[in-house]
């Protein structure tokens, strides 16, 4: 049967869902509605290779327009401002109306903004999309001392890039460690050392009291009364799911759109995937919302299968990475529920991994090392986690013993 399938949100989850639907359904109309006037593109390079000029805009697109044309997937640049779930219609700002049989919401997430009591709002920059990355890249060319507010993945990746561009970088973090929301302190400290070795200044445990501007220079007053002078400010203080459009509807929201393990929302024929979805994970037996490349891709693919009628549970073990300087940091599973921690390796040149175990099974692991050094072990760890394997702790802790010995075939 021919259906109208609309994908609201032109990011990674949306494009992967669209192509997966087409693989399973050659007849239905598939239309992606994107707010940015760009085909879906990869965001990870924006804070790294794009700022460093190692990747250009044209290198970022997931697929060319020809791929979409060949697969008969439409892409339209439009902003939707109203949804009528009962009559299955979307209304655009330009009065266009879109009817759907199935709807996938993949609107992603948006940056939290600093609350400032003066009119410097437009002076603080954030990085999520290509346009913002272009602006930052242009402005920093004549700035020297740059302050990053927020010591999470995005802030630290920018800090790493700016340092490589010979800028003086200061990172201000409110918490008592970097990347505190998801990264264990042991790993965060290793990453912090690398930033310091490269000349970046890391300030922890400090809150911003006030930001003022004098003669083109910003003054950041911290809660210990210290004052930081800086030429430019970038903030990366977390994100929130993009759900404003659904706030006065019947769609169940709770830190994003609540979905089950099949990407189904509380409304029939409406699905959600990627950053915007607070989904049920059958392995961890709880809901979670993830903001990562792998999740956006795999969750989009899973939603695509379900929309096309191929009932598929989402069981992917979370995985994410961050590249800073010559380090590659990787995280798999969940590192917040454990009764034992096991360390593998103690030299960042060979990779250091911390495993988080509960009842002798791995629930999550986090590692960091020179690029390439932790990926294989982290990947094997994902497999061990997924298979709920009881692990030999001797093998886990001894870097000379290969982890793939633990995989039961």
């Amino acid at each position: 049967m021919k259906n109208n399938i609309i994908i609201l949100g032109g990011g990674q989850a949306g494009i992967y869902a669209a192509r997966e639907i087409r693989q399973n359904d050659s007849k239905s109309n598939i239309k992606i509605l994107g707010e940015e006037n760009l085909l879906p593109y990869e965001r990870p390079p924006l804070s790294k290779d794009f700022l460093l000029d190692k990747k250009k805009e044209e290198d970022l697109y997931f697929h060319s327009i020809d791929v979409l044309k060949n697969e008969n997937i439409e892409f339209e640049n439009i902003s939707i401002n109203k949804v009528d779930f009962e009559n299955k219609k979307l209304f655009a700002k330009n009065d266009n109306v879109y009817s759907y049989d199935s709807l996938l919401i993949s609107t992603g997430s948006e940056n939290k903004k600093l609350t400032l009591d003066n009119n410097l709002k437009n002076d603080i920059y954030y990085l999520r999309n290509l346009e913002e990355a272009k602006k930052i890249k242009e402005i920093i060319s004549n700035k020297n001392k740059i302050t990053i507010i927020g010591g999470g993945f995005i802030g630290l990746e920018i800090a790493s890039s700016l340092s490589q561009l010979q800028k003086k970088v200061i990172v201000i973090e409110i918490g008592n460690q970097l990347m505190g929301r998801i990264i264990p302190k042991q790993i965060a400290d290793l990453v912090q050392n690398t930033h310091i070795e490269h000349g970046n200044e890391i300030i922890l445990n400090k809150q911003i009291e006030k930001i003022t501007k004098k003669n083109g220079i910003y003054e950041i007053l911290l809660n210990d009364n210290s004052l930081i002078e800086t030429d430019f400010i970038i903030a990366g203080i977390g994100s929130t799911p993009t759900v404003k459009l659904f706030e006065n509807t019947n769609l169940k929201l709770d830190n994003g759109i609540v979905t089950n393990q099949f990407c189904e929302t509380s409304i029939k024929d409406v699905y959600a995937a990627g950053d915007v979805s607070n989904f049920y994970h059958p392995f961890y037996e709880r809901n979670m919302r993830l903001e990562s490349y792998q999740h956006a891709q795999n969750h989009g693919i899973c939603a695509g299968k379900n929309i096309a009628g191929v009932k598929t549970e989402y069981t992917s073990i979370p995985w994410m990475w961050s590249d800073q300087f010559n380090l590659n940091l990787q995280l798999t599973g969940m590192c917040d529920e454990y009764d034992e921690i096991i360390e593998r390796g103690n030299d960042i040149n060979n990779g250091v991994i911390y495993f988080f175990l509960k009842n002798n099974k791995i629930r999550g692991a986090c590692g960091v090392g020179i690029i390439g050094k932790v990926g294989r072990d982290i990947r094997i760890t994902s497999k061990l986690t997924e298979k709920d394997t009881i692990v030999d702790k001797q093998i886990l802790s001894d870097q000379n013993l290969k982890l793939n010995k633990l995989i039961q075939k």
Partner: protein, 105 residues
């Protein structure tokens, strides 16, 4: 097929089964694998981002990039899982007197 294009990589016992070694020749770099049914070779650098596959995971005839988990079939080079979408180049391999050779074009 001219003989001089066959380049010696090393001895057959230099690679464990279901594993790989890196092999550099002139300005090119390769991965040479030992699978259950023999030896195989591919380009060394992932087609997604410039990362060497030498630290990747070999499993069930597949190599997975250690950085962003793109997966390739070792025998055909086919890109099997995003973010990799461009195939990996493969090279003929032969074993002679317990030595592995790959044919570089």
């Amino acid at each position: 097929m001219s003989e001089e294009n066959w380049i010696e990589v090393g001895s057959t016992d230099s690679i464990e089964e279901e594993d790989l070694i890196r092999f550099d020749h002139q300005d090119k770099t390769f991965c040479v694998y030992k699978l259950t049914d023999g030896f195989y070779a591919t380009d060394g650098i992932c087609t997604h981002e410039a990362v060497h596959l030498e630290d990747g995971l070999v499993m069930d005839d597949e190599i997975e990039c250690p950085m962003h988990q793109g997966i390739f079939n070792i025998k055909s080079g086919e890109a099997l899982s995003p973010p990799a979408c461009e195939d990996l180049k493969t090279y003929p391999v032969k074993v002679d007197n317990d030595k592995i050779f790959i044919k570089i074009d």
